[in-house]
Symmetry: C2
Amino acid sequence: MFKLNRGDAAPLSEQIAAGLETMIQRGELSAGARLPSVRQLASQLNVSAFTVTGGYDRLVARNVIAARPGAGYYVVASSWAGPETEEQALITPPNDPIGFALHCLDGTGASLRCGSGFLPEAWLADIVPAALVTRVAKSRNALLAPSPAQGSPGLRQQLSERLRSVGIATVPGQIITTLGATHALDLVLRALLRPGDTVLVEDPGYVFYAVRARALDLVVEPVARLPDGPDLDALEERLERCHAKVFVTQTLLHNPTGGSTSPAKCHRLLALAERHNLVIIEDDVYGDIAAKGAMRLAQLDELRQVYYISSYSKVLSPALRVGFVALPRSAVDQVLEQKILGVLGTPGLTEAVVEATLDSGLYQRLALKVRTKLALFRQGASRLLRESGVQVAAAEADGLFLWGRIPGAGDADTLVRSALQAGIFLAKGQMFSPSGRFEDYFRFNVAHSSDPRLGIFLSRVTAQGVAGSNVRQLRPASSGA
Amino acid sequence: MFKLNRGDAAPLSEQIAAGLETMIQRGELSAGARLPSVRQLASQLNVSAFTVTGGYDRLVARNVIAARPGAGYYVVASSWAGPETEEQALITPPNDPIGFALHCLDGTGASLRCGSGFLPEAWLADIVPAALVTRVAKSRNALLAPSPAQGSPGLRQQLSERLRSVGIATVPGQIITTLGATHALDLVLRALLRPGDTVLVEDPGYVFYAVRARALDLVVEPVARLPDGPDLDALEERLERCHAKVFVTQTLLHNPTGGSTSPAKCHRLLALAERHNLVIIEDDVYGDIAAKGAMRLAQLDELRQVYYISSYSKVLSPALRVGFVALPRSAVDQVLEQKILGVLGTPGLTEAVVEATLDSGLYQRLALKVRTKLALFRQGASRLLRESGVQVAAAEADGLFLWGRIPGAGDADTLVRSALQAGIFLAKGQMFSPSGRFEDYFRFNVAHSSDPRLGIFLSRVTAQGVAGSNVRQLRPASSGA
């Protein structure tokens, strides 16, 4: 970008400010362009983060750049050079996992949420009646007492009964509640692995497996995900080549492909895990909307090699953030220690709400309703995507997502950006790939992907190449559309 | 303990089982004794965690040891060799930070909770009326929509107004909600530091500062805490000797000593931090029960070097687990990224409850009531401790805790254990010391320390040396009382 002169009288932070300002004046950084993160630029220029911050602060003071909470620093356009407001926060496109999470959670910015990982709120409405929450709130215990570190005993009792009902033998002492499945994954990885250890992740697979693992300085090795489950030959080859300790997999309604692992493959996978002393983290967040009698690894294994994680963020409500891990007894201590060190405990109130909802039988009814509705919406979304020229995955896929290839998508980041300008939040496939493949794939949430506006947008792309391919972004100059 | 023979035909896990069984038969590990953690023993014997688990599993199968959720493996006594129940979980004494957290959170085991870090539930009752929770639950948004990754905008708005009202200039975009102050600390440490970096921690100070930092492979350097704040000469000496990047401190109502940092010291501390590019994490969880007009570092610094963390677990309710960090704008991205990677988001429901409570003015009234009540109970507890021969700290201390030396306490672990047998949960001082000092100090929660049974127990200790000093524990044999 530019060089610093350590012999110069001007402080390094001023040199950074001046360097950036020149680039902006020259148009090398155009209005709306995101600046490198403080840490990135600090390491690039070999200065401290404080020096970079100092430089950025000077430009903020001059109104040349602006900070956006959760989204870094941007070059200020004259049209929006006013004081920053919360509403501007989501200008960042969902082109990296963090931006993607912001779009999934923040619920603003795009009117068509095809890229979201959640169900529409209208599908969930009334499932947790206010009366139930009132009843819970009237119990002093749920509202005022700290929840035990391992999680509310009543909820853990409910969970272990529900697990037993799908054939997973477990006791409450083997369950640790978490703030959702992502939190459960984080705790297990931290308890079992040390920096430099290898973890195997499906390719494609849920965004945050690989991202979380890499942020813990773990080595991520991809294992191809086929329509009927992970590629076991590839897995075996990996296990023989490198000493992998953990494999993360979604047996049912795999995110993003929608496939489920066949029972025979479950059996072979477990045999392989036993032979190689491989821990399997089975993420079953979509299990409650899977077909009745669907097979999970934890059923066969009885929580010996398998750590079973799930959550109520998908079907019940993403506002509660209640998840859990059911794990081998011998591992409870280590994982619980990580929970205590990270968050001390989880909220008793939300756990009591989930417990009461499970207890009332309301949840089971909702899950069934969601399953039926999803099947219907899946047909509609599938038709719309096909008619728009998107190549969608195999017919046996099911659940929340459709995984499709957009021929002529061109640069995915550009497409995501122009979709956002059209009010459409798209999830690009590459994010789901630990090896960085699937450049022209996208994940569609079937509950959000039946709107004709999506069809119109996609048809234009597949017919003419990238809509708005003249839109350039970040570094190189040009106007931006 | 024992040696493994790698040339032996018996598998290593069987050798571990046999070795432990011999120690138990010889009485070197007596009934009730805790076995080393899987990780500990694995590193001691230089084998994998799986091998140790295999050995432990063999002993569990033989009913020689039992696993207790959250508390490791124990030698089984013939009297409790039956199937494990949840009720047995708390047999583990609060002698290490994890055991201490379990006792603080689980709310069972001891009838006198002198060691707890929380207020009695009765003090908090009715502060969050069920009607308020009902109102919150009736808003679809709080119950069904995911909360933005940075935290509920309404709550962040409230928080920034409250911060401004105590003189800390801030905007909602500078605030990230967390699952309590411990979570906030974890996120900031992970965002700012890399393994091997040095963090300065007060000695004594809150248990989980040093424990959390060490678990992240950070180097912890203690800085003595004096009655009027941290020892700045020691701090300066440390800063000149090692390149420390972060200092964690509690300005107001310091845990465990109850002291507050004087305004002059705040000023000097900040000047030092600026000179050395030192980030200060200011933990203000007790700020809302401090005297009106009390000075915080964040007021002077305006969130440039200072990261300000606090929570509503202390005064409002530990069942909600709502905390936050207010931080420099330039650091929001990095810390938010850690939040997303670890837990994705925090629960919208509990954040909406806190927002409504702050909005209603109920919280401010409760904080005042708690403050008045604490002052009263402080006198009572202080008198009781003095009369029992405990040397309690300076009169200018205030807030939730009394920090006292028990002359003749002897081995603190033994004392804690015998107190627990008498139904009293004590918090030993050594846990609060990153340098492992303060062996005969204890932290007393004034709200829980006016009961005559505590006086009787302590008087016996100070008069005769450790009550039940014949109680031996862990490694060495003998019966256990």
